[in-house]
Symmetry: C2
Subunit: 298 residues, 2 copies
């Protein structure tokens, strides 16, 4: 499994072969995304949820999604260390995942990795994302249920809203609830949810936890289960999954075209154009038009 996941991270023909083999057999695992600002305690919460699920005998695959630094390509595996309690448990598989050259980035590598964990039979796949940027929010939001973790204190709810987390949250967890400000944060979240004026059938519950001490974990998981039940009852689970797959298909096509673009952006004619752009003789958009004429003629 670890080797197959490495192939998925690298992308390319081997990853696509994994995809071809796993795609027909999946569809039974339920995916839960966990996101929130760095330091909010997502990893501790994830570790506690794993323990909770293991006590029930459920098997859990975990992807700790860690965007490679755009410069070093390296991923820091701190979260993996924090999850080492489960290292010897066969019913748990934890993977700190980066892109390692996958041209489609995390947005494409993650659903492939999820399908692999699904295909090998995990009941649950947890996707924990590090950071609250555009890509991370997108990846965490592409789960069946998305849990957004915030902390007590002024401004945390506003920051979550800024990062686009309000729209993707199915469940809010106010973690580190032994600190002051839980009521204010809960009230802020509730107000912002009401203001956001969604016509969605589900109002995200807000659960207080102290993940480090194991408090509120059962309640947080019950909220996830309640959301799942609602999705299954009204048919939204199938609709959500279908729209995710359709979006992925468009993204794969786009990624393949990007590879073509990279192929075309080399060679002598390209270098001449590039030189003209650097000399400000030609703007980048006009240069792109010329290059695209080459792609079309191939």
């Amino acid at each position: 499994l670890a080797r197959l996941l490495s192939a998925v991270e690298r992308g390319g023909p081997e990853a696509h072969e994994v995809g071809r083999l796993t795609y027909p057999v999946g569809g039974t695992a339920y995916t839960v995304g966990l996101t929130g600002a760095p330091g909010s305690g997502k990893s501790t919460l994830t570790a506690q949820l794993i323990a909770h699920l293991r006590r029930q005998g459920d098997e859990v695959g975990v992807l700790a999604v860690d965007p490679s630094s755009p410069f070093s390509g390296g991923a820091i595996l701190g979260d993996r260390v924090r999850m080492q309690d489960h290292a010897l448990d066969e019913g748990v598989f934890i993977r700190s995942m980066a892109t390692r050259g996958h041209l489609g980035g995390l947005a494409l590598a993650t659903p492939e990795a999820v399908r692999l964990l699904d295909a090998v039979g995990f009941d649950w796949v947890l996707i924990e994302t590090v950071g609250v940027g555009q890509v991370e929010v997108e990846v965490a939001g592409a789960a069946d249920t998305t849990v957004v973790v915030v902390n007590p204190g002024w401004g945390d709810a506003v920051q979550a809203s800024k990062a686009g987390l309000l729209e993707i949250a199915d469940v809010f967890v106010v973690n580190k609830a032994d600190r002051p400000g839980v009521e204010e944060t809960t009230r802020d979240l509730r107000q912002m949810l009401e203001l956001s004026d969604h016509s969605r059938p589900w109002l995200p519950p807000i659960v207080a936890t102290v993940a480090l001490g194991g408090e509120g974990i059962a309640e947080a998981w019950a909220a996830v289960l309640a959301h799942r039940a609602q999705l299954e009852d009204n048919g939204d689970l199938i609709a959500r999954r279908e729209s995710r797959v359709a979006a992925e298909l468009v993204r794969i096509v786009a990624e393949r075209l990007e590879s073509r673009a990279r192929e075309v952006c080399r060679g002598e004619a390209y270098e001449d154009l590039r030189r003209d752009v650097l000399d400000r003789q030609l703007d980048p958009y006009s240069a792109a038009d010329e290059i695209l004429a080459w792609v079309g003629s191939q």
Copy 2:
């Protein structure tokens, strides 16, 4: 200027026309990126730097880069409010920027917006990014000098490293330095910079500020100027700008190809394929292969 920036945010032919007109006349503005975790005080620091530059008579354009929520498309303009001190000053232009439909996203819209501010004659363009995700780090890192803002306290330096900020920082600012832990954070940053083992000619200085009280602002700006002087002396400024423009060119080509992908992903034949994928009769990668055959034949 505001209307032209709106055109840039929307992308499309109008934006490209703006690009064609501004590209030949720019090149004199110096760009400074500011990034860091939500709540680190980037906006307050930016407001203070604007005030500092205005006292010297310099003109400043500011882009507060705020990724649209992937779902609502809306940007929350809180930072703009905080910067309203400068609202009536003609030597300052502040814009809270989102993508609003620009297909290339912030990574393409931002350099276009910078060129526009450059072309109309601002001495400095500050680019403040909200959040520390992949896209935000990339956008802030694509400045001439990049300032990374952290706060005192255990773990902040580690979080900055996780988010890939160590690699893009030219100057570190430890803001809110009236709180305990400044020495520890400074020491952590210094250690991590040494560990990162770059052969770069510039070791990022670490400056303590209390942006809210205006402390350390002159020192922070002096660090930016020192970095600029070093880049200009050793020729790296030109090299940096050239590699940015070359990367942008590849990205524009890719974005145009993506538009083609979206065009091809509609119609009856596409719907049939999509249905096969949803029914798990066909995996997304094999479906993409079929679609790409259509793109090639157009």
